[in-house]
Each structure stands twice: as C-alpha cells, then as structure tokens.
C-alpha cells in the first residue's frame, strides 16, 4: 500500500522524464513521412492517413470487437503463464532436483520457434481460441518460469543466516527476505512475457483464426489495404507501449529502486 502511494506520487516526475522518448517517437514519424514521399501511398501510407484510418477504425464496432477478442486471448494466455509459470518456477527453485530436471525442458521450450507451435496447435486444437491461447502460453510461460526459478535459486544464504539469528518467524522471512528478492527477478520476466504474449497472439490469429486483430490484418493484406494494415499495427504497438510505460515501468522503478 505504501509503495502504491509512492508510485502515484512519483508519477508526474516520471511522465516529465518521458519528453526524450516522445521526441524520438516524433523523429520516427518524420522518417516515416519521408518514406511515404519516396515510395508512395500503396507501399507506405503517410502517418497522417494511417492515423486517420486508425481513428475511423476505433469508430468501427467490428474492429472494436476484434480488438476485444485479441485482448481476451492475450490476457488468458498471459494470465495462465503468469500464474502457472511463477508457481512452477518457485517450486523448481526451492528443490534442487526439480531445477536440474526442468532446465533442459525449458531450453527446448524456449528454443522451439513459435511458428512450429502454431502449426502443431492447429493440428491438435483446430482453428479457434484454443490454438491461439495455447501458443501464447507455450511461448510466454518459459520466460516467467525462468525468472521465478532464477529469483529463487539466487536467494542468499547469508540473509537466511542473519534471519535465523534474529529468530525471524516464517511469515516474516517470506515477506521480508524471500519475496523482495524473488519479485525483483519475477517482475521483469512478467513484463517480457506480456510483450511476447502480445506478439504471439497476433501471429497465431493471422494463421489460425477468422477473428481478432491478426485476422483483421490478414484481411487488410488480401485487400491490399495498406493503410488499414498499418493502422492495426500502430494500434497494437500503441497498446503495448501504454501498458509498458504507463503501468509497468513505474512499478518496476519502485520495485527495483534498492538495486545498484
């Protein structure tokens, strides 16, 4: 609770520090404009046209519906990864054998290209929600798992010893010694997994479903409607940026303030 207030209090200063980021975004848009003038509207619609299309899209109920479907799939997949990945990672971290056994499995999961998973999922689950959600989970769960595992494996004996000398009760040991350390590993992993989930969900939709942002993107491509395709891309990137910079980054700063 105290840290939540602190996050809110630091928020204006944090926003102010965003001017640099804003400047670089504008620079990027300027480059985009130049690209438009060189290659023409069909290849690269101008930023203005794209944003106008984007505005129109947000007035279109079909697009909003697609957006919601995609959001739901991403959140289901990410939520499962978050809960399951964290729980399994902690479990594996606390037992040496489990962490040794899980290592190669994680390496395989992480090394497997998501596209291969999509193909397999399409065979197993057909076209629809399950395929997309499954792919999101297999792609983002290992990230969370590894974060939780590392956080637990790197707990330091010297603090454990110190806590024993002061006869620290179990609950307090968990909240004051283990949790802050583990969280500083798990939280960045959550953020990375969210980014992964968002990318994979669109990719899976593009190949495996007839609704959602990915499907809308596929539709725009088949109609050679570059402006709509770009507008969808902008919407996707924009949403991720809002999630990252407005919600996650301030929390991360607060959580990691004590780090060197």
């Amino acid at each position: 609770m105290k840290s939540l207030l602190k996050i809110l209090r630091d928020f204006p200063a944090y926003l102010w520090s965003g001017w640099g980021a804003l400047a670089s975004i504008f620079l990027f848009i300027a480059a985009w404009e130049i690209g438009n003038q060189v290659y023409g509207d069909l290849i690269l619609p101008s930023p203005l046209e794209t944003f106008q299309t984007l505005g129109a899209l947000f007035g279109d109920s079909e697009f909003i519906e697609n957006l919601m479907i995609t959001l739901k799939r991403a959140m289901v997949g990410f939520g499962v990864s978050l809960v399951l990945g964290t729980a399994l990672g902690l479990l594996a971290g606390f037992f040496v054998t489990a962490s040794i056994v899980s290592r190669p499995i994680v390496t395989i999961l992480m090394g497997m290209p998501p596209i291969a998973w999509i193909v397999l999922a399409m065979i197993w689950f057909g076209m629809g929600d399950a395929t997309v959600e499954f792919t999101v989970i297999v792609a983002s769960l290992p990230i969370v798992f590894v974060g939780a595992l590392q956080g637990t494996r790197t707990l330091e004996d010297k603090f454990e010893e110190m806590a024993d000398i002061f006869k620290v009760p179990k609950m307090m040991k968990f909240f004051d010694i283990y949790l802050p350390h583990i969280f500083s590993y798990v939280f960045p992993a959550w953020v990375a997994a969210l980014g992964m989930a968002w990318k994979i969900v669109v990719m899976a939709e593009l190949l495996a479903t007839s609704d959602g942002l990915g499907a809308a993107l596929a539709m725009a491509r088949s109609q050679l409607d570059t402006a709509t395709a770009l507008a969808i891309v902008v919407a996707m990137v924009g949403l991720l940026m809002v999630a990252e910079y407005i919600f996650l980054e301030p929390i991360k700063r607060e959580v990691e303030k004590w780090r060197d």
Partner: protein, 245 residues
C-alpha cells in the same frame, strides 16, 4: 548464571580441519575476545557458538536467553532502508512499528548517523556507515549475549573510540556479555577480560591472556603498556609471524 562453555570442540569443512580441540568459557558479564591470523577459523568458531553451524565434535553449552550477531560483512537487506534494517530484529520480536522505529532512530543517532541517512538504502551507505547500521541492528534488541565479528574494522579512530565507549558503558552496567573477534590488539585490551590467541592450521588456542582491571579504569597508558607487553610475547610473535627488528 548464564554462560557459554566450549569443550574440546573440533570442526572441519570437508577434509580440511579448521578447528582442533578448542576449550574456553564466557561467563555472564564478561568480554572475551579472539585474536589470530586471517583465515585461522575465528568466524567459524563464532558461527559454531551461535548455533549457525552444526557441531561435529566436542561440546557447546550456551545458556544465554537471547543473542545476536554483528557479522563480519554487514548483511544489510538491500531492499530495506537504514531504519528498517536496524529495527529488523525488533520486528522479528513483534515489537509494534512505532516503538521499534523510535528505538532504531535513537540508536542510529547515537552512532552518529544523520537523520537523512535513515531513509537511505544500503547501496547509498559507505562501508563504515553500513557497519554501524549492522552493529546497531545487533545491539538494539538488547541481547544478553552479543557476538561481534570485527565490528569496527571500517571505522575511523574517532568513531571506533565512540562505539567502544558505548560498549564499555554496557559492560560497566553488566547488561551484556560479549564474544568478540578483532584484529586490533589495542581494542581487545581496552575491552576484554580475556583474550584468546587462536593459531591457525588447524585453529587451536595457544594462549589466554587475562585482564583484571575493570574496563572503566583502563586509561591510555594502561592500554599502551599492555599492548607493548603483548606484542613482545613469544606466542604472539610466532602466531602472527612478526619479525622483530
């Protein structure tokens, strides 16, 4: 009367014998220090006495009700600020927040920390400041038996003197018993009733020096004179491999 009694204690890490047949006693109200070369097993002996390592051979009897340690490295929790680090032991005892903050603040200011240092994280503290915070954390719970592992090694002579005086007042009031590792012979002579000389490979006690004069009456002349005496002691010279010129 509470005491810490060690009898014929031996200890090895793997095949390497670290401590060999150690016996000594720390009685309530006493200050006992250990001096000896680096790597000789002092910290290991302290961890055994505090119950942090499992005893292998010999006997350790520790009948003090409460104990705490100022470790050789400060071991401050990096995610807690100075105040919360100092009051950590009090929190474990279930002391209410307000009271433990007040007690932690009081002792911090006594140890020459500034009000503004209280909200700093360990990464923002100097080595000597961290050491004082760690020492404060050990003292603030008012333990009956206090283990100190080179607690003043990173402090300047003024601060060192101040903290030694603080300890001395506690000793004078018979409020505390201290088992103390130090590399500073003068410090050992100022504070201790007994000094154990621990020689390495494997760690064994070569000699015990005893000092009867009450700590409060030990002036600088006394400390200098005793230091000179000890430094010319044959066992000390051999143990520390001092070459006399």
């Amino acid at each position: 009367m509470a005491r810490l009694k060690v009898e014929n204690l031996s200890f090895s890490f793997g095949y390497e014998t670290i401590l060999d047949d150690i016996s000594f006693e720390v009685n309530e109200g006493e200050v006992v220090s250990i001096v000896g070369p680096s790597g000789g097993g002092k910290t290991t002996l302290l961890r055994l006495c505090a119950g942090l390592l499992d005893r292998q051979e010999g006997k350790i009897e520790n009948s003090f009700e409460t104990q705490s340690i100022a470790f050789q490295d400060p071991r401050l929790l990096p995610w807690k600020n100075t105040l919360d680090n100092i009051s950590f032991g009090l929190k474990a005892l279930g002391v209410p927040t307000k009271e433990r903050d007040a007690r932690a603040r009081e002792i911090a200011l006594q140890f020459d920390l500034e009000e503004s240092d209280l909200t700093k994280f360990p990464k923002e503290l100097s080595g000597g400041m961290s050491q004082r915070v760690s020492f404060a954390r050990a003292l603030v719970t008012k333990p009956k038996l206090l283990f100190l592992d080179e607690p003043f090694s990173a402090l300047d002579i003024g601060l060192k003197r101040e903290l030694q005086d603080h300890v001395m007042r506690l000793i004078d009031k018979k409020e505390i018993t201290i088992f103390f590792i130090t590399h500073d012979i003068m410090e050992a002579i100022r504070l201790s009733d007994k000094i154990l000389l621990l020689a390495p490979d494997p760690g064994h006690i070569v000699k015990i020096f005893e000092f009867d004069k009450p700590q409060a009456e030990r002036n600088d002349e006394y400390v200098y004179a005793e230091t000179a005496k000890i430094l010319s002691d044959r066992e000390i010279i051999e143990t520390f491999e001092l070459e006399l010129k």
